[in-house]
């Protein structure tokens, strides 16, 4: 189809368009220059934008710190961390540097950097290449956490994040890189930059989710519709800030709420959403709030083991069915 892009291509297009429009943008990371990125997100960009798409040594901490310094000096660096699990090696610079510098300098400096990093199970990468860690960053004041689920969002949210004056942890779906196709359209779909998206309208149950789990939730919703359960699927798009207005409106329609995410459930961001909803939407709820997320285990390698850990459409269906019975 004309104009259709893969998710990975949308990321590449967003980087190219930002590099073309803003001379302050530089892209730095491992294997992004000569190789074009292990997921092809930067393929061809080093040739097209000479000296602005740069391979770093295997040194995530210095790379993020370097980007922070470059941002303080007037650039808008985009850092690629090859797999989200590797971000642990740059934690200090993200948490104590990027996130806090505006505050601890009394507003003297801004740190407009984007840290792009792919997560998701489902690709056979095993325990140290698959974990969803977005909750950690959503917990840290000063950071924005983006998690696009569609081709259009991959493109528009990345462009917006690069122009955002706040540091953004941009969690890409490596499961969707080459599976999800779509058009990017002429503008972003959202009413405001951090708005959630109603991926499917419905009246029985609100499923709040993000990233790859949006597609799983939509598939579950189609199947449940045949049973007369009409799900509304809210794609949060941003884990922080999350769109409380959209959640309020949706739950007022459906009176039932379930949060679905791929990250571990215990202390995960779903807990935050549930806690907020329990406090603020209590009188709109007809049933206890539910959470569906990964159990407390790393992501195993073997596919049949991995499927025990990661929620899928059938797990979502059965959780929603149970909730709809209330």
């Amino acid at each position: 189809m004309a104009g259709e892009l893969k998710y990975a291509e949308a990321i590449r297009r967003a980087l190219a368009d930002e590099l073309a429009t803003d001379p302050a943008v530089v892209v730095m990371g491992q294997e992004i220059e000569a190789l074009g990125g292990v997921f092809t997100a930067t393929q061809g960009l080093a040739e097209r934008f000479e000296g602005r798409v740069l391979d770093t040594p295997l040194a995530e901490s210095a790379t993020v710190g370097w980007a922070i310094g470059a941002a303080m000096a007037g650039l808008r660096p985009v850092v690629e961390i090859m797999f989200m699990d590797f971000i642990t090696t740059a934690m200090d610079q993200i948490v104590n540097g990027a996130a806090k510098l505006r505050y601890m300098s009394g507003g003297q400096v801004a740190v407009p950097i984007v840290i792009r990093t792919p997560s998701d199970a489902g690709t056979g990468h095993g325990p140290q290449h698959s974990q969803h860690l977005e909750t950690w960053f959503a917990h840290v004041p000063g950071l924005v956490v983006a998690m696009p689920s569609t081709v259009a969002d991959a493109y528009w949210m990345l462009r917006h994040s690069i122009q955002d004056d706040n540091p953004v942890v941009f969690v890409e779906s490596k499961y969707l890189y080459f599976r999800e196709s779509g058009e990017i359209g002429a503008t972003g779909a959202a009413d405001h930059p951090y708005a959630a998206r109603i991926a499917r309208s419905g009246r029985s149950v609100t499923i709040v989710t993000a990233g790859r789990m949006v597609a799983e939730s939509l598939a579950a919703a189609e199947s449940l519709a045949t049973e007369g359960i009409d799900c509304e699927v809210v794609d949060l798009r941003f884990i922080w800030p999350y769109d409380r207005e959209a959640l309020t409106e949706s739950v007022e329609r459906t009176n039932r709420l379930i949060v679905v995410h791929e990250a571990v459930g215990d202390f995960g961001w779903g807990g935050e959403v549930c806690s907020w909803a329990a406090s603020e939407l209590f009188y709109s709820l007809d049933a206890p709030i539910r959470r569906l997320a990964a159990p407390r285990a790393p992501i195993p390698f073997a596919s049949h083991l991995e499927s025990v850990i990661v929620p899928d459409r059938s797990a979502i269906e059965s959780a929603v069915r149970d909730l709809a019975r209330h």
Partner: protein, 338 residues
């Protein structure tokens, strides 16, 4: 043509006197802060740079106002040498609105972008990549500047320093890492981690960059070495490393029970043998009367700065939860209930 006011301190007698005065200013500030703490007029953490004044004055004395500096948790001296006003520093330490960060940062988070002081960083060695990246970016943006990043001997054990030196060599950046080897990483003697003074410079040389050692009780030696290295860094755009041996006169921090790991009064004996201020008075030379006059003048200046700082107002309570994100973001959040 370079504006004369932007020229770094050179080696004329008046330049040498300036280095001395900077050291005295740092010493007076640190002793002033100590007194405020002991008098119960200031709270919180404080890491004195007393005894290390030659590193701050000597290295930063080679820089232009537009050059950049990042610092450590023990960074008041670097801030003063880079041109931060003592009143702003004291106000910050008092948690006042007039402080450099409006009271949000405190002693370990002095920032003054207008002076090219890109901040202290209380995470050991955490500021080194900031300096490297800021200098690299500034070069790309057409600015002819260099950055100096201070780090302690403790910081040399941090992975991020090794990573940054590796990346500096890979990418090139006009950076001088100035390592103040004050013999102690909190209570860990440097001899246990690195060996004799000079061994840290030897370690840094392994990254394929120029790395030198200089004794930090002689501000003029530090200044000569730093001037030569900074000229080279500026000309080549390549990073370099200097180890400056210094002496931590005070405990790690104000409330550190350092008698558990140090002989009592060791700090005092350091000052008897390695005081960079006394050494500068001898080497300039200054008569006792001249030295006393300078010290008294600067002591008055700091006392006035402290008085002026106390005129400030407490940071407004609402500032505790604002300025975390950009103004536009926070406005959107207020509107939408984040």
């Amino acid at each position: 043509m370079t504006n004369p006011s932007e020229m770094p301190v050179g080696d004329t007698p008046s330049d040498r006197l300036k280095l001395y005065e900077t050291m005295v200013r740092i010493r007076e500030l640190e002793t002033g802060i100590e007194s405020l703490h002991y008098g119960g007029r200031m709270h919180g953490s404080f890491h004195s740079s007393m005894g290390q004044e030659a590193a701050a004055a000597g290295v930063i004395g080679c820089l232009r106002p537009t050059d950049l500096v990042t610092s450590t948790h023990r960074g008041h001296g670097h801030a003063i040498a880079k041109g931060m006003r003592p009143t702003t520093i004291i106000a910050e330490l008092l948690g006042l609105q007039q402080g450099s960060s409006g009271g949000k940062g405190g002693s370990m988070h002095l920032h003054d972008v207008a002076c090219g002081f890109l901040g202290e960083n209380a995470i050991v060695a955490g500021g080194v990549p900031w300096a490297a990246g800021a200098a690299w970016a500034s070069r790309r943006l057409g600015k002819d500047l260099v950055a100096v990043s201070f780090v302690g001997d403790g910081g040399v054990a941090q992975g991020v320093l090794a990573e940054t030196l590796r990346m500096a060599r890979t990418w090139g950046t006009p950076l001088l890492v100035a390592c103040e080897n004050n013999h102690l990483a909190h209570s860990m003697p440097v001899e246990r981690t690195f060996g004799e003074p000079g061994s840290i410079a030897g370690w840094a040389a392994g990254f394929g960059m120029r790395a030198e050692y200089v004794a930090g009780d002689d501000v003029f030696a530090v200044h000569r070495m730093a001037a030569e290295m900074i000229d080279e860094v500026r000309a080549t755009g390549r990073a370099a490393f200097v180890e400056i041996e210094a002496w931590r006169v005070r405990a790690h921090s104000l409330n550190d029970p350092d008698y558990r790991y140090l002989a009592k009064d060791l700090g005092k004996s350091y000052l008897q043998t390695h005081d960079p201020i006394a050494n500068a008075e001898r080497d300039l030379p200054l008569t006792e009367a001249d030295a006393t006059a300078i010290r008294e003048r600067i002591a008055r200046e700091i006392a006035e700065a402290i008085d002026a700082a106390f005129e400030g107002q407490a940071a407004p309570v609402r500032s505790a939860t604002t300025g975390v994100y950009s103004e536009a973001f926070e406005q959107e959040g207020r509107l939408r209930g984040w």
